[in-house]
Structure formats: structure tokens, C-alpha cells
């Protein structure tokens, strides 16, 4: 399942002079499967790397500045005072600690929303991969087709519907729409098709196991990397959810972090409001940290999951 066979661990046996398999690239003669390292390529890729990281560096540097030095110092380097911990403390305590509440809300939405979305996507992808049922083609076409419709077409009708059901201004208004992840469905479909041999399922059925038992005991363990991948991607999507919560939520105590930061930024634009750009920047830094940490720690899984199954040679 994991792409654990990098292309360079062994010199192909087809070489006329039989050699021992060599592990280190630099010792092997240069070939397609064990190329020499290229500085040029590294530099070019380095440019893309800088492009990706400079804004994040900017964010970090400016989170260490006080509001007045934000305005007067060079954007990409530190100012005289290092106010990072000060800023963090103020961010967490401003307005009776509402940032913490927003953080908790976001975690709630992510756990229930992403968790639920992954669950639905796993079930659905499994069905699409391993079963033939009436309407199967229609299912995926409909899902992709519906995703093509702009969110604005859905916003007001969904709002009206949800308020009839009494769901607006509650966490459910945010969680329920985030339960649908078409990309997750697709990913699970492909992954399940690859990772679960039909013979295994047949064997289980022959043994008299029900479909649901088979699913939980046989298929689910095989799907693990794919599940983690979908979970991570739906986590990012729910963590960063902005548009629909904007319409559904009116009570700031239910805001996710994205809405909260936006509200703080907008505060500067009101008569009598207090400009807190420094807190917006520090808050932004704190908002992206958990996701980055999650990605760093779970690297192994989502890479293999994205590889969508092992290749049978």
C-alpha cells in the first residue's frame, strides 16, 4: 500500500556486469533509476519553496510586533521589540477569552464534521468500489454535478431550510453541510478499489459473514491509510470553512476561528471599534499551527493514501 519501493534502492539486475545491489545513490553509476543530485534543480525548486514559505515567515515575524511597530517596521524582518508572547497572551484573553471559545468551536466542527464526512465517504466509496447497484453511475455523476453549482446558489435556500428546521445559529448548521466531501468520496472509491481484493470479500461471504460485518472486520483495516488521508483533507476543509458559517451563524460565541478573525479584522472598520491588527495576525498564526502540526505528524499516512493503493507487479 505504501509506495515503499523508491526507484533507487537497487541497481537493475539487467546490467551486464553483475553487481551487488547498491543502496546509496551516490555510489551507483548515473542512470534513470539512480540519477545524480542536481543543484540546479534544487535551486529551482528552492524558488518555489521560498514562494511557499515567505508569507508564513512574514506571518511569524509580524506576530512578534506590537501594533505600532507593525506600521513602522520593515515587513520581512523583526522590529526592535519581541512581543510574541505578549501578543499571544492578549489574543487569548481579549474579549473574555473568546479566541479560546472559537478554537473550541472549530475543534468541535472538525471532529464532528470531518469525522462524519470521512465516515460517510468511506461507506460511500466502499459501495462504489465493491458493489454494483442500480443507480451507481448516477450517484457519482450527481455528486460531481452538484459540486459544480456555486455555493451562493445553495446559501440562501439552505439558510431558509435550516431556519425552518430551527438549525440556524447552532453548530448543526455548520456541521451538517460539511458532512459531504466529494473529493473524499472519490478518493475512497479509488482507494477501496485498489486496496481490497474482491477474493477476500468473496471468501468472507462464503463463510457466511454479513456485508456489514465483512466491512468492519475485513475491509476497514485495509482501508486505514486511505481513511487517514480523507480525514486529514476533510479536517483542513472544515477547519478552513468560511462562507457557509458566515451566513448561518449570528452569535459570535459559535463562530469558528475563520469567522472570528474576520470579525476582529472588521472591527477596525467601525465607528467606535478598536483596531486590533496585531491580534488578527497573532490569531492567524495560532489558527494555522494545529493543522501544520497534524500534517507533519501524519505525513506517512496521507502520502500512502494519496498513492491510492499498491501496485501489483
Amino acid at each position: 500500500m505504501t509506495a515503499t519501493t523508491p526507484t533507487n534502492t537497487s541497481v537493475p539486475a539487467a546490467r551486464p556486469a553483475a553487481r551487488k545491489p547498491v543502496r546509496l545513490r551516490s555510489r551507483a553509476p548515473h542512470s534513470v533509476s539512480s540519477p545524480r543530485r542536481s543543484t540546479l534543480l534544487t535551486v529551482l525548486s528552492g524558488i518555489v519553496l521560498l514562494y511557499a514559505l515567505v508569507p508564513l515567515f512574514w506571518l511569524f515575524v509580524n506576530a512578534t510586533k506590537t501594533q505600532s511597530s507593525l506600521f513602522s517596521s520593515f515587513g520581512l524582518w523583526f522590529s526592535g521589540d519581541f512581543a510574541l508572547f505578549d501578543n499571544i497572551a492578549r489574543t487569548l484573553s481579549y474579549d473574555d477569552g473568546i479566541f479560546g471559545r472559537w478554537f473550541a468551536n472549530t475543534v468541535l466542527y472538525v471532529v464532528l464534521g470531518a469525522g462524519g464526512a470521512t465516515f460517510l465517504a468511506v461507506l460511500g466509496g466502499y459501495a462504489l468500489a465493491k458493489f454494483d447497484f442500480p443507480g451507481k453511475r448516477g450517484v457519482f455523476a450527481t455528486v460531481i454535478g452538484a459540486v459544480a453549482v456555486p455555493g451562493t446558489a445553495l446559501a440562501v435556500p439552505t439558510f431558509l431550510m435550516f431556519s425552518q428546521m430551527g438549525l440556524t445559529n447552532t453548530p448543526w448548521a455548520v456541521i451538517i453541510p460539511s458532512l459531504i466531501s466529494p473529493f473524499g468520496l472519490y478518493l475512497m472509491w479509488v482507494f477501496a478499489a485498489e486496496a481490497i481484493p474482491t477474493e477476500l470479500l468473496e471468501a468472507a461471504r462464503v463463510d457466511g459473514s454479513s456485508e456489514f460485518r465483512t466491512f468492519f472486520q475485513v475491509s476497514l483495516p485495509l482501508l486505514a491509510p486511505g481513511i487517514v488521508t480523507v480525514l486529514l483533507f476533510t479536517m483542513v476543509a472544515t477547519w478552513n470553512n468560511y462562507f457557509l458559517p458566515l451566513i448561518m451563524l449570528k452569535d459570535p460565541s459559535w463562530y469558528p476561528l475563520t469567522l472570528g478573525l474576520n470579525a476582529w479584522n472588521a472591527q477596525a472598520a467601525t465607528a467606535g471599534g478598536e483596531a486590533i491588527f496585531d491580534l488578527v495576525i497573532t490569531g492567524s498564526l495560532l489558527t494555522i499551527l494545529p493543522l501544520i502540526v497534524a500534517f507533519l505528524f501524519l505525513q506517512r499516512y496521507w502520502q500512502s493514501g494519496l498513492a491510492a493503493g499498491s501496485v501489483k507487479e
Binding site: 539487467a14 451507481k136 451562493t152
Partner: protein, 311 residues
């Protein structure tokens, strides 16, 4: 699956209305037990609102005069609406420029990392992917601060180096500025999709190519790119859909550049303004439906072309 077809397979082109029931073994309803929960929530969250939108688009509500059925009047109006079409052409332009650039960079980086010729490829992989973890709101706020020509980074650079970088938030440059933000956000994500697809190409193919004396570049052209065709197509489709639905970034930048980003800058922004500033829910629904259909058509065409080349 075989060794030649892409592991990340694109499902065959489907058209729900023309699928013929195929007599196969094990064709039963049990599949619905699994896909049912997904479809149930889907119906509530997507199908119902879309149906309601379509319903809304056939009416007209006035502040003075109430609601009346107007049939396809709204659609006729949309087709003749210069603001709507300027928005459509803008996202069309955006799509034609930004998507190839972003996917191109993503592909090149994925190939570079996969080629094994980089120093520290793990670091590259994770770092270039990081921007994806940043919410659009935060990314736009950040870039918005940096784009400031008086006190932002652009201003700083101009002062320090004596250059005169034009104001990214002026009408001439704002689309490019937004394109930059979107590229920054998603290049890592697409890169990773391509990279993962590259990783599962069987090494036997490379061995065979080496036997034939192929160069790195030939390997890329003949083996790697064709092998990830499926991911390329899917990434393109999702990027196209994303481009047509462009909303978050222009909406957040609008307060910084109110004259450059009009209320009809993108079709989605137009639909939003119609609904929430103008109370014109019916016309807004019409605009959104038309955009949805347009997007579906383009995405379908891309998929067809992408898959046909495989033969």
C-alpha cells in the same frame, strides 16, 4: 489493476440519464446500504437547496409588489446582462492563465521531487504543501497586508530597492494579485496529488526504459506523464470548478480595493451581492444556476478530452 493504466483512475464518463442497466452478477441493493447515508445527507444539503434555487429563479420578488411567477424572464435577463458576462469572462481569463501556471508548477515540482535529484526532498515536499493548511481568510488577509504600497511589503521593497512595483490592488493588477494568492494556496496540494501518483509507477517500467537507453527527459515524457494522466485530469477539473466559483479571495480583498473589485467581479460575488445587498434572491439564484451549468459543461468537456487521449 494493470501496470499501464493509471492507479488513480478517473471513473468512466457518466451521464446519469443514459446509463443502461447492465446485467451483472451480484447486482443488488446492498450497495445502497453503504452509500445511502452519504446520499441522504447529500440530498438534504445539495439537492434540496438546488431544487429550491431553481424554483426561486422562476419568480420575481419586488420590494413594492410582492412575488410573481415570471418563467424564464430572469434567464433572459442574465443572458443580456453585461455585468454578469464581464464576471464570466474574468473567471474564464483567470482559469486560462492561473490553472495552467499552477498545475504546471505543481507538476514540475512533483517531477523534480520524484526524480530523486533534489537535496532534501522531504523538506521540500512538506514545506511546499504547508500553504494548503492556511485558511483562505488568513491567506488573503496576509497577502492583503503585504500588498500595501505605502506601508506593506510592496511599499517596503519599493523604498528599499528604489523600484516601483505597481500597486497590486489597482484595477489593472488585481486579478493577477488574486491569481497569485490562489496559486500560493493550492500549488502544494496539487503537487502532492501528482507526486503520490508518480510514486506508484512500477519500477519495472523504469528498468525497461533504461534497457532501451532512455534519458531522464524521455522517461518523463513517455512514462511518467502518461501514467499520471488520471490525476492530471482530476486536478484540472477541480481547479476549473474552483476558478469558476472564485469568491473568498476577492470578497475579503474588496474592502482594501473597493474600486478595483466591483460587486460583479466574479459571478459568485455577483450572485452574493445580488442576494445580500440587493435582496434580489431570484435573480441571484438564476445567475448561480447558469454558472453551475456552465461549470459542469466545461468540466465534462475537459474530462472527455482527458480520457479520450488515453486511447
Amino acid at each position: 489493476m494493470t501496470t499501464t493504466s493509471p492507479p488513480v483512475a478517473v471513473p468512466p464518463p457518466v451521464d446519469a440519464l443514459s446509463s443502461r442497466p447492465v446485467r451483472r452478477r451480484r447486482r443488488s441493493w446492498i450497495g445502497w446500504g453503504f452509500v445511502g447515508p452519504f446520499m441522504a445527507v447529500f440530498a438534504l444539503v445539495f439537492l434540496a437547496p438546488i431544487a429550491y434555487s431553481i424554483y426561486l429563479s422562476l419568480f420575481r420578488t419586488q420590494m413594492v409588489g410582492g412575488t410573481q411567477f415570471v418563467g424564464f424572464d430572469n434567464y433572459a435577463r442574465a443572458f443580456g446582462d453585461p455585468q454578469f458576462w464581464s464576471g464570466v469572462s474574468r473567471v474564464g481569463l483567470f482559469l486560462l492563465v492561473q490553472v495552467p501556471i499552477m498545475l504546471g508548477i505543481a507538476l514540475l515540482v512533483a517531477l523534480a521531487i520524484d526524480s530523486g535529484r533534489l537535496y532534501g526532498k522531504n523538506f521540500f515536499r512538506i514545506s511546499i504543501f504547508l500553504p494548503y493548511a492556511v485558511p483562505a481568510v488568513v491567506a488573503t488577509l496576509m497577502w492583503g497586508f503585504m500588498y500595501g504600497t505605502r506601508f506593506g511589503l510592496v511599499g517596503n521593497i519599493n523604498d528599499a530597492l528604489g523600484t516601483s512595483i505597481p500597486n497590486p490592488l489597482s484595477p489593472d493588477w488585481v486579478l493577477l494579485a488574486i491569481g497569485n494568492i490562489v496559486t500560493w494556496e493550492f500549488v502544494g496540494y496539487n503537487m502532492l496529488i501528482f507526486y503520490s501518483a508518480l510514486r506508484v509507477i512500477p519500477t519495472s517500467l523504469y528498468e525497461a526504459a533504461e534497457l532501451d537507453g532512455a534519458s531522464q527527459w524521455q522517461v518523463v515524457r513517455a512514462i511518467k506523464i502518461p501514467a499520471i494522466r488520471g490525476s492530471l485530469v482530476i486536478a484540472t477539473i477541480f481547479s476549473i470548478i474552483g476558478s469558476f466559483q472564485l469568491f473568498n479571495e476577492p470578497s475579503i480583498l474588496q474592502s482594501l480595493a473597493p474600486n478595483a473589485i466591483t460587486t460583479y467581479f466574479t459571478p459568485n460575488l455577483y450572485a452574493y451581492s445580488l442576494s445580500f445587498s440587493g435582496q434580489q434572491y431570484n435573480y441571484s439564484a438564476t445567475v448561480a444556476i447558469i454558472m453551475g451549468v456552465l461549470t459542469m459543461i466545461v468540466a465534462y468537456v475537459v474530462q472527455l478530452r482527458g480520457m479520450r487521449k488515453e486511447a
